[in-house]
């Protein structure tokens, strides 16, 4: 399955969103995730099943005024 993660093409065998995030992001890090520009709450990551060519965006907090 191919996915776009933060605009980069990624080959992935992870069908569950939670598995993809576990593989990419340290468990300590608090992130927000959107699939095809719909925010998916953390509580729904394991139920969220990914499809070929889905666009996944992973956001983090940074310094800002």
């Amino acid at each position: 399955m191919q996915l776009y993660v933060n605009d980069e093409l990624v080959q992935s065998e992870h069908r569950q969103l939670s598995a993809l995030i576990d593989a990419l992001v340290s468990s300590e890090q608090r992130v927000a995730v959107a699939v095809n520009q719909q925010v998916v709450p953390r509580s729904q990551w394991s139920e969220c099943l990914l499809n070929d060519n889905d666009r996944i965006d992973i956001f983090e907090s940074i310094a800002g005024g």
Binding site: N6, A32, V39, E60, S61, I62, G64, G65
Partner: protein, 257 residues
């Protein structure tokens, strides 16, 4: 001296931002010295290769309230998306709405801001809109449920101070929600002037972050905001065109002749 936004009490009338500091140690020291109990953060898409600078942990250890902003949003739709992401990333329903499509002056778009605020209030957010010092817009935002307004003193990061002062005065006079002067405050005297004029609070970032001594500057802002508020509560005297003697020296001169 405390004040309230959406039922949350703040002991300090100085809100801060986390941008532009040379390093995290200086940022933390400056925010602590300022006494601020709410500070802003932004969101961005993670760089999955280089990892992150993990700014959250030291801020959470401080116990300070975190206020995500929608910086980077160019219209209402993007701001709402950013607010929803921030809610997930930070676990808060508070958001500072900033919509500035033009990177040169970073002027907030009033029409998109009003649309975004109306929708975010409907979705249950506590919304703090960053706007031009426009008294009419402030009333419109209040009507759609903004819990405060954040008019600018001058362009973001410009250090020009309260360039919009006559309009801030009108906003403060008319507002039924807290008024927080945001942007352009370049020196503690600007912050003091805003509080003296009756603003409920100020938000300061650049002036603290780019100081040669950010920690000391944080303290200077703390004192300025406290002094400004005290002066407001004590009632400053009226401005007059002519002199009004504070000593009865004319009597003294008569006695000499």
């Amino acid at each position: 001296m405390s004040f309230t936004i959406a039922g949350h009490d703040f002991s300090s009338r100085l809100f801060t931002g986390t941008g532009k500091y040379a390093n995290q140690e200086q940022m933390i020291a400056s925010i602590v010295a300022s006494g601020s109990d709410m500070t802003t953060l932004s969101l961005r898409r993670m760089d999955l290769k280089s990892g992150s600078d993990n700014i959250l942990k030291p801020l959470q250890q401080l116990g300070i309230k975190l206020l995500p902003n929608t910086s980077g949003a160019r219209d209402a739709k993007e701001a709402i998306y950013a607010a929803q992401l921030a809610q997930e990333a930070l676990g808060t329903n508070w958001v500072k709405v900033e919509i500035h499509p033009d990177p040169r002056y970073l002027m907030p778009d009033p029409i998109e801001t009003l649309k975004a605020v109306e929708e975010l209030v409907r979705l249950g957010f506590v919304v703090m809109p960053y706007i031009h010092a426009d008294p009419v817009l402030c009333k419109r935002l209040e009507e759609v449920g903004a819990q405060c307004v954040m008019p600018l003193g001058a362009p973001i990061g410009s250090n020009q101070g309260l360039a919009s002062k006559p309009f801030l005065d009108i906003i403060i006079e008319q507002s039924n929600v807290p008024v927080i002067v945001d942007a352009g405050i370049g020196a503690p005297s600007h912050a003091a002037a805003a509080l003296e004029a009756g603003a409920d609070a100020v938000l300061v970032n650049t002036a603290m972050a780019v100081a040669s001594e950010p920690e000391t500057m944080g303290k200077a802002f703390k004192l300025a905001v406290e002094a400004g508020r005290m002066a407001y509560e004590s009632g400053t005297g009226q401005v007059q065109h002519t002199a009004a003697a504070s000593s009865p020296f004319t009597e003294f001169l008569k006695e000499l002749s």
